[in-house]
Each structure stands twice: as structure tokens, then as C-alpha cells.
């Protein structure tokens, strides 16, 4: 059935779009094309010498650099394809529901709205000169799109949720701890997005928090100012002082410690419980493995001064960690919790 296939394609495609987005940011290519939706007014990056000179005449302050324009355009091509796929999913869901009203419709609808909004955020990313708040929102929107697509694919590929009747009135504690984990991880991802959007990933090269004496270099007011800067180009975050960048970076490190402790304890706690189903066990093992990988990537970024590939992977694995956590929560939800 096409809906099922398309949902898998969409997940893979969304993961690519997220990774390409991270790549674009890390290559400093976000303004590779200073206009939107075209690139210097063209559908593809201008190549002929005449087109290039026209482009440079139209944007004298930002002459064309093809190696920066291409990542941006490829990200846009993939993203618009994903948009089309999501609208196809919505269309097919409406059609298929005539014969099977059990099929999810709220998720496809939410996705369609979200992907349009993501398009807008993508536009503002360019037109507002990489305004960090928009850049972070664009990243979070991308992660949300990916996670909703993943949830949809899992639901389409399994039997409908069984009716919950176990332990009436008794809360599903494991699930509640799991959902709290989703919020904590989402917050940590936002801090990571804020670090990237403000070019703060390389200001602390020591473990575990920052260079000694960082306590003397904090500026919260500047670090977490989300609007009202009154400038129109935020590339390389030159509007921020070193102290603000250190504060942003430190926040992500402290967040990493909290997130690791919380998620690590949660997964290990689940694995040591008696009476958990094999699905939950596998999901917890997988999530734990992804968590370890993500920490290793984060440490590598610090020690090796942000190698491009590792940095992109740190972004992608964050998305995979969120998906594995969502899958774990779905398993906990369906099992009605852990039997005592």
C-alpha cells in the first residue's frame, strides 16, 4: 500500500533534510543564496559567466560562492520534495480513510501545516540574515516534522493501539518518566540549536564544562536575548561577545550532563525491571546505545574542534535519539506500563 511506503520514504527524506540543514549551517552556507526561493533569481545556482556577473551585480555585498550556494539549494530541493511527499500522504490518508476510518488523519494534517510553516521559517532564515531565533526554530520545526513522520510510519506499520484497560486509575509511571525524558531531550536539542545558530560550538575546548575560569565569563542577558537586536546580518554571530557565546555553550554542556544522567538512569532502570516486554527491552537497549553514541560524538566535537562530519552526525544522531525515545514511549504506552 502506497501510504505505508510513502511514510517510510518520508522519514528517510526528512532525516536527509535535517542533516542537509545542519550541513548548510556548518558550512556557513545559510546565506549561500541571499534570496528566496530562487538562488540569485535562478532555479539552480548560476553557472555561466554571464549569469554569475549578473548575480554579483544584483547582490554586490554578497558575491556568488558556488560552494556555498549549492548546499543551500540542495537543502531547498530536498525540503520541497519532502513537502510534496507530505501533501501526498495527506491526500492518500483522506482517500484511504473512506474504506478504513481507523487510519490516522490528525498527524498528516499537523504535518502538512508544519511543513508549510517550516518553509516560511526557511525563507525567514534567509531574508532575516540568519536571525538566530529563526534558525533555532527552523531546526526544531525540522526535528518535529521528522518525529511526527516517524510516529506516523510506526503507527501505519503496526496494528491499531490496543484498548487501555490495565491498572485503572493507576498512572503508567514508566511512561510518565519517559515523556518527561522527551521534554528534557527536546530542551537540550533546542540548546544545541541555539549553540549552532550563535556560532558558539568552538568557544569551549575543555571537558566537561569549559576552560577553567569560565565562571568569570558569563553573560546571560546577551546570551539568551531572543529578539530586538536591531541588525540585519547575524552570520558568525558577530553581534555577540565572547562571554555570551561561552554562556550559550556552557548551557548546552550542563544540559548534556542533565540529559545524559536522566535518560541513562531511565533506560537502565527500565532494563532492570522485571516483567518488561521484549519490545520495551529492545527499545531501551537501542535508545541507550544511541545515547552513548551521541555523547561520544559530542565529546569528539569538543576534543577535535568540531570536524564537519562529526558535527553533522551530532545533529543527525540527536534526531535518531529522539526517535528512539519516542519509540520507547510508544511501546510503554501500548503495554500499559510495567507489570509489577
Amino acid at each position: 500500500m502506497w501510504l505505508k511506503r510513502l511514510s517510510i520514504i518520508a522519514v528517510v527524506l526528512a532525516l536527509c533534510v535535517v542533516a542537509l540543514g545542519a550541513y548548510t549551517r556548518l558550512k556557513d552556507a545559510g546565506l549561500g543564496c541571499p534570496d528566496w526561493p530562487g538562488c540569485y533569481g535562478h532555479l539552480v545556482v548560476p553557472k555561466s559567466s554571464e549569469a554569475v556577473s549578473n548575480a554579483n551585480a544584483a547582490y554586490p555585498e554578497r558575491p556568488l560562492e558556488a560552494h556555498k550556494a549549492w548546499p543551500e539549494m540542495i537543502h531547498r530541493y530536498f525540503a520541497s520534495t519532502l513537502g510534496l511527499v507530505i501533501f501526498s500522504i495527506l491526500f492518500l490518508s483522506f482517500k484511504a480513510r473512506k474504506s478504513n476510518p481507523q487510519l490516522p488523519i490528525k498527524t498528516p494534517l499537523a504535518l502538512a501545516i508544519l511543513v508549510v510553516f517550516q518553509g516560511l521559517l526557511g525563507m525567514w532564515t534567509v531574508t532575516l540574515g540568519l536571525f538566530p531565533t529563526v534558525v533555532m526554530a527552523h531546526l526544531l520545526g525540522g526535528f518535529t516534522t521528522l518525529c511526527l513522520l516517524f510516529l506516523l510510519a510506526v503507527r501505519l506499520h503496526s496494528s491499531p493501539d490496543p484498548v487501555q484497560n490495565s491498572g485503572q486509575g493507576k498512572p503508567n509511571m514508566a511512561l510518565r518518566f519517559g515523556i518527561l525524558g522527551i521534554f528534557i531531550l527536546a530542551f537540550q536539542i533546542a540548546l544545541g540549536g541555539w549553540t549552532a545558530a550563535n556560532y558558539a560550538a568552538t568557544v569551549c575546548s575543555d571537558l566537561p564544562i569549559c576552560q577553567s575560569g569560565w565562571q568569570q565569563h558569563v553573560n546571560f542577558e546577551e546570551a539568551f536575548k531572543f529578539w530586538g537586536h536591531g541588525i540585519d546580518d547575524y552570520e558568525y554571530a558577530t553581534h555577540l561577545g565572547a562571554d555570551a557565546k561561552i554562556t550559550i555553550h556552557v548551557a548546552h554542556r550542563v544540559g548534556a550532563i542533565i540529559t545524559t544522567l536522566y535518560l541513562g538512569s531511565l533506560f537502565i532502570w527500565l532494563l532492570t525491571r522485571n516483567g518488561i516486554s521484549s519490545t520495551i527491552r529492545q527499545a531501551a537497549v537501542a535508545a541507550l546505545a544511541v545515547l552513548v553514541l551521541q555523547i561520544a560524538l559530542g565529546i569528539t566535537n569538543v576534543v577535535m574542534n568540531l570536524p564537519l562530519l562529526v558535527a553533522v552526525a551530532h545533529n543527525g544522531v540527536a534526531a535518531i535519539l529522539m526517535m528512539s525515545l519516542i519509540f520507547l514511549n510508544l511501546s510503554l504506552y501500548r503495554s500499559g506500563g510495567i507489570k509489577p
Partner: protein, 303 residues
């Protein structure tokens, strides 16, 4: 005592001065927690008579406790900039009249609560009045820097009063609400005390920033904020509240922690007062979202 001052200022006494005597802004915040406590105790609607009479009874009690506080603290209030305009401190209302006013309110409150609500609520309310007006104001406040921590219990009791007014029994979930207000009080009050340290020192009140220094108090604010953030997760984890509550509370806590961390590590002028101001917004939003969540529970968690 302040006879000269009282003569000078005792011009026309209006009902506004008596209203001021009841600390209406504090009472409104406490009443919010009490009324939310009523609604949280039942899946349906709170009976209208309990809602109206219970609220009046509790508000009278809180107003009475506040009036006693004004009388007892007359001397302190008159030397502190924040409180020097209070009606008793300024001499607009004589202590005798204020005491009579407080006694009338208390008797009315006890009458309403024990006849129309239930004796458990009346008894707990009495405990709250005694706790705040006598144990806290007369003794703890002057005796120990832990004054507002221990005394905070009296201020934390309103959600329990609201709850027992409806159910006539003490539910663990009601105690959870008490716990939240209880752990919220120290960071809330100490933020103000940091800002008003010199005032408290002048009045000879052993507030934590006076006895242990501002830096120590800032650490205490941060630790209590962390403790509070953890306690506010309990309504979700115990199944009393759902996802709306969790999501909003996490954001509220993140902002509070942000203020507490800034206060400790990167203070800017006026940050203590901003923290204090936010703490009020925090508690209001938290109880409002408890209520919203109670009636719009997202059914994702099924149970």
C-alpha cells in the same frame, strides 16, 4: 510608641485602609491556590455554595492573619521603606481598631467555615491563622533565618483548605499542592530579602541575607529553585495532572532556573527584584495550568 506619628497622619480613615490591612494582593494569590485546590479535588464542578462560602471564609481568615501581622510588625514596618506606608505603621488605623477588625474577620471566618463548610476546614484554617499571625510573625520572624521556610507552611496551606472544603478529607494530592507552595516560598521570599537586605538589617530581622550574607542566600535560592522544579513534576508523575501541565511547568521552571542562575552567577542590577516578580507570575501560572489541565486532560497517557 508612635503616638506623634499617629496623630500627625490619622486623617480620614477610609475603607481602603482597612482593605490595605488585609494585604489584598497576597490574599488574592493565596485564594487562587485555594480555589484551584477546590477544583482539583473533584472531577466535576465544585458545588456553588462551597465555592462562594468557602472562598469568603478563607479570604476572611487570610485577611485577619494579615491584619494581625500589621499590628505586630508596626515598629518594623515603620522603619522599612517597603512597608512604612502600611496603615497601622503610619498610624492611620490604631492597633486596637486593627485587632478588633482582625478578631471580627476571624470569628466570621470560623463561623462560616464550621457551619457551612466543615469542621476539618475550619480547624485547618485556624491552624493557618495561628501559624502565620502568631508563630511566624511573633516568634519565627525574629528568631531564626529559617523563619520563612518554616512559616511558609502556613502560607502553603490554602490549596489544602480548598480541597478539604469540598471533600472533607486530606488527600495526598492536596498535600502535593501544599508541598509545591512550601518549596516555592524560600526562593520567592529570599529574592525579595536580597533586594531589601539593608531594610531588614535596619529593622533587626534575622533574614537569611542579613545573617548569612547575600551570596549564601543566592545559593540557597538556586538550591530551593531546583528542589521546587523537581517537586512540581510530581503532579504529573503521580498521575494527578497530564501533559498540558507538564509542558507548561517545564517552561515555567526553566525560566525560574534561568533567573536563579543569573542571580547567583551573573547578577545585573535589579535582578533580585525581577526574580521576585517572576516568582509570583510563576505560581499564578502554575496553578492556572493545574486547573486548565484538570479539565482538558490530553488522553495520550490513557490512565
Amino acid at each position: 510608641m508612635n503616638r506623634v506619628i499617629s496623630r500627625e497622619f490619622s486623617s480620614a480613615v477610609s475603607w481602603r485602609d482597612y482593605l490595605e490591612l488585609t494585604k489584598p494582593r497576597v490574599v488574592m494569590l493565596l485564594m487562587l491556590t485555594a480555589i484551584v485546590g477546590m477544583f482539583m479535588s473533584t472531577p466535576g464542578m465544585v458545588p456553588l455554595d462551597v465555592l462562594v462560602l468557602g472562598s469568603i471564609g478563607m479570604a476572611f481568615a487570610m485577611g485577619a492573619a494579615a491584619a494581625v501581622n500589621h499590628v505586630v510588625d508596626q515598629r518594623i514596618d515603620s522603619v522599612m521603606a517597603r512597608t512604612e506606608n502600611r496603615p497601622v505603621a503610619k498610624g492611620k488605623i490604631s492597633p486596637q481598631k486593627a485587632i478588633l477588625f482582625a478578631a471580627t474577620l476571624s470569628v466570621a471566618s470560623m463561623f462560616i467555615l464550621s457551619f457551612f463548610i466543615n469542621s476539618l476546614t475550619a480547624f485547618l484554617t485556624l491552624f493557618g491563622i495561628v501559624g502565620y499571625a502568631f508563630i511566624y510573625t511573633m516568634y519565627l520572624k525574629r528568631a531564626t533565618p529559617q523563619n520563612i521556610v518554616i512559616g511558609g507552611l502556613a502560607g502553603a496551606i490554602p490549596p489544602l483548605l480548598g480541597w478539604t472544603a469540598v471533600t472533607n478529607s486530606i488527600d495526598p494530592h492536596a498535600l502535593l499542592l501544599v508541598l509545591i507552595v512550601f518549596v516555592w516560598t524560600p526562593p520567592h521570599f529570599w529574592a525579595l530579602a536580597i533586594h531589601r537586605r539593608d531594610d531588614y538589617a535596619k529593622a533587626g530581622i534575622p533574614m537569611l541575607p542579613v545573617t548569612h550574607g547575600i551570596d549564601y542566600t543566592k545559593s540557597a535560592v538556586l538550591y530551593y529553585t531546583i528542589l521546587m522544579a523537581l517537586c512540581t513534576l510530581l503532579p504529573y508523575l503521580t498521575g494527578m495532572s497530564g501533559l498540558i501541565y507538564l509542558a507548561v511547568t517545564l517552561v515555567l521552571n526553566a525560566i525560574f532556573l534561568y533567573y536563579a542562575v543569573r542571580l547567583k552567577f551573573a547578577p545585573t542590577p535589579g535582578i533580585a527584584m525581577k526574580t521576585f516578580g517572576y516568582s509570583i507570575v510563576y505560581l499564578m501560572c502554575l496553578f492556572i495550568v493545574l486547573l486548565v489541565d484538570h479539565y482538558f486532560t490530553i488522553t495520550l497517557t490513557a490512565q
